[in-house]
Amino acid sequence: MKQNAPVQNSMKSGKWIPTTCKMCLHSCNALVRVSDDGVVLKVEGNPSSPSNRGHLCPKGASMLMRLYDPQRVKTPLKRTNPKKGPNEDPKWVPISWDEAFDIVARELKKTLDEDPRKLLPAINDFQKLFLWAWPAAFGGNANYFTVVGTLCGGGFHPMNGMIHRTFASANDYDYCNYWINDGGGDGFSSHLHVACQAGYMADARVDRGMHVVVVEPRLSTGGAKANEWVPIRPATDRHFALGLCHVLIRDNLIDEKFLKEDTNAPYLVGPDGYFVRNKDGHCYIWDPVEDKAKLWNDESIKDFALTGTYEVEGVTCKPAFQKFKDILEDCTPQKVSEFTTVPAETIERIAHEFADAAQIGATIEIDGKTYPLRPAAYNYYRGGEGHKYGSMNNHAFKIVNMLVGSLDAPGGHVGVCLDEYWEDFDHIYGEGAWWPASSGEDSGMLTCVPHQLHPEVPFAYPPNTTHLQDYFPLAVDPGHLNNLTLTEPEKFGYDFYPDTMLICHSNPLWNMPGDQQKWFKIMSKMRFIVAIDVVLNESTTWADIVLPAHDTLESWNMTMIEPPNTEGMCLRQPVIEPLYDSKSEEEIFNEISERIGILDQWNEVINFVYGFGHKPELLLKPGKKYGEKEIAERRGLLWNGKDLKWYMEHGHSVKKKPPWKMYQPWKGQRVHFYLEYIIRRRDELKQKMEEAQVPFRDEWYWDDYQPLPNAAIEPVHQEPPEYDMYAISFKEVQLNFTENLSIPWIDEIVWNDPVHMGILINPKTAAERGIEQWDLIQLTSPYGQIKGLANITEGVHPETLAVSNALTRWVDYHAVVRPGGGNFNRLLPADLRNVDANSGQMETTARVKLTKIMSKPKDAKEVFAKNTMFAYSEIRARGEEG
């Protein structure tokens, strides 16, 4: 048919509306085309934003298909099948909002009245981060039935808070010349604002010739694009970093000036690990020129000793730097090579290349101010640091940067704030929304801010939280410990047992490590479960009531989370009226809060979390319900005084982050090279646990609290020898966790990409074990097992099996989602041994044994079950677990 009307969707009659993407945490700025008939036709990047500069990643590009998913939750649903199980059909019936709210309010009020601690929240809405704080209004509930922030961020966030006073960190795209990515996909596949970072990364690599080295067990996209891929045995990355540190210090490739003047590396440490202090609590350094101890801020200091052993006030002590040097004696390239399988020559060479590129001593003038120029930076994320010794892992990577002086320097490794609230927010010298300015009162050192998601949960025995957060003063919530505590509550002295659950935009049964059968048992013991979401998932299958939330394109929000090189606020606004009988999360939580009598408390929590007190006219008042539009407007006004009308027109207020926020914003105070703060908190906790006679205090892993990273070996390396291979999970840019696998366009690009189509195994390993392409294999760890099809690739370490997130769904009701051979996280432990008592970081690498279940059938087409490649029907027919 001849058509005069356009056939291309962006050209059809309609209008463009600026809004944001919500397919990950990071609110890239988008333009959405809506036809005259109100059909959403196209999503593009908004070119006016210096963040994603008019582009989107595939997740963002696929956004409009989520809106039109026929299997979206369209009305409140009530379960009519009393039986609950992982694949049990809830037999949902639609009910009215009135009935839904009646039931939800009745059940939650019961819990609130009995004991608010009996609620297990799993609230993980991307971008409406303030919702995560709702349980605080629910009688001060601080439980976490999810690990979404901890799987990757357990060790990451507190260390950033202690070193940079930020939540995240990244390398500086503008000036870096030598970029190391260790176990992180920044600039290629994941983490902070990927559609933004990928652009800046391409510019840096291709236009400026930036050299990229990627250290990881699997050849990720970053590894494929890098100048060098350094394969490494999983969970040994800290040792690689310590090996680099050994070479840097041995060959004197260090920025002494930075270490001496801007860090506490010269501060003298006594034999108990604490700084040596005078009677007023001031720290000492050793002046090697005058050969005597002086207070850290003595104006007569001629130089600071970094090495040596000294006597001060009768105490034998060493500079913190010397303590680190002592640790590094065991971290020779040869020793590190044996443990990491990275050749010693590679460690030597990369250390030298890194130090050369760092240009120690160079300076640069930016905006009229002179900074050190250090264009060599070590970046890292979950793969490198998400292991038992999370705190030490993160600390080690930071120190690589500190040694060459590239911490927070142009070209180096910089801090990234979670939320910057208002335009002139100074995260060092200014008050945060709820944390104090850095005073430098402790001998000029930065005031640590280990907590930025929520205030510290106070110690208590018996515990008030089901995940033992009462004993993790520095940690991000290890929600997976629920697997342990709710199975053996008496062991931990609980005087309550939870029976209610609220799941909002979360899939806790998918994200939490641990024995899956125990998780299912915990779920089946719940008296009442309510879920709030756009689509159903493996966890909502257990709910009694599901409440439909608006899709991204139907809702309001104002946010900008962890932008690496920009700042501002991004407006999400509806482009159409809601398709179904859904509500915004704000309206849902307001209604529930009002009905159970906690609305005022909820408004107080929102004021607190969002820092509205900084402009008191924005404060939410008691007795009133504030909708998503009103809260979004306040966030915009708080940022730059512009109202919603302005934001609806411009879409955002994003600009490049100013140099004063990025580069050495703490100048004048000292960065913690040595974290005495950690052992001080350890000893406070120890004392409290002793006073309260906490029965498990002697089982607590006190050695996890370390002021410096050392060469301790993660327990994952010490599993019984029959578990002779490592298994890791991964995603690439197409996937957000796995929740977007329900979108057909994502399904199409994922299932055409070999890395997502089977469990990756090295060819030599496969040959040794008689495994051929597409054989059905099983991975068994001490904690669980999964199945999948073998996919032979040169791009994986020979001891490692790599499992894409795409293979780990098990819901089988959704027409597009392909059930896989089991959730990877069930291979992981949920015990105290494998969690960092310091940071809450859990182990994300598994030790497994590999077995072949069956060879690929000759006529494989016959045995593909449903729309998955992973469950040969013969296996199903034999009744084996899938």
Partner: protein, 204 residues
């Protein structure tokens, strides 16, 4: 009169397939139909292994075999070099799909259009307004986003790409970015030995 062409910078491309999705979104293509996609291939042996990502699309050849073999002259070349299919003339013989050395054309089947993207025979409003552009049983392919280009915009795949790995422009304009890149970075044509004179060039 411009001579439209595209340059693909393989150094920038990260194989994310945002282009694949943007194209499907722009053109309402049903499941299984990809006017553009990104191939990936492993090279080398561990530990010296790497992977390359290669976006492919219709090359809008200057001497296209698809046009030559078309029995009804449904496939035609515009003055600006864009190769299109007139769906009113196409009889769906598939000769063009066979003739194309790049395998970048398909004959549209009924099944994916009826089944819908969500596979249940329920078409989303997006599909309902989009599918009618197609005539089932005719040859379809990338059109270099001819309507966008006529309005002075870039093709959808170029527009979305987060690493700006795709560059579109007038190959006859010596100052255009495409010409400069081909010259400076030594752009190569895909399967040049087939002599179809493709107008998509690759930079390594």
């Amino acid at each position: 009169m411009p001579k439209w062409g595209m340059v693909i910078d393989l150094k920038r491309c990260i194989g994310c397939n945002a282009c694949t999705v943007a194209c499907k979104m722009e053109n309402s293509t049903p499941a299984g139909v990809l006017f553009t996609k990104t191939l990936s291939e492993e090279i080398g042996k561990y530990p010296h292994a790497t992977r390359v990502y290669i976006p492919v699309l219709c090359n809008h050849c200057e001497d296209p075999p698809c046009e030559r073999v078309c029995p009804t002259k449904a496939t035609y070349i515009r003055e600006d070099g864009i190769v299109l299919v007139d769906e009113t003339k196409c009889i769906g013989c598939g000769a063009c799909a066979t003739a194309c050395p790049y395998k970048n054309r398909v004959v549209l089947h009924r099944e994916p259009v009826e089944k819908g993207l969500y596979k249940q025979g329920i078409l989303t409003p997006f599909e309902k307004q989009g599918y009618p552009r197609f005539v089932i049983g005719t040859a379809i392919k990338c059109t270099f986003c001819h309507e966008r280009v006529d309005a002075g915009l870039e093709p959808a795949c170029v527009n979305i790409c987060p690493t700006e790995a795709r560059i579109f422009g007038d190959l006859d304009d010596p100052d255009s970015k495409v010409r400069r890149l081909i010259q400076e970075r030594k752009g190569v044509q895909p399967l040049a030995h087939h002599n179809t004179k493709p107008k998509v060039f690759y930079l390594e």
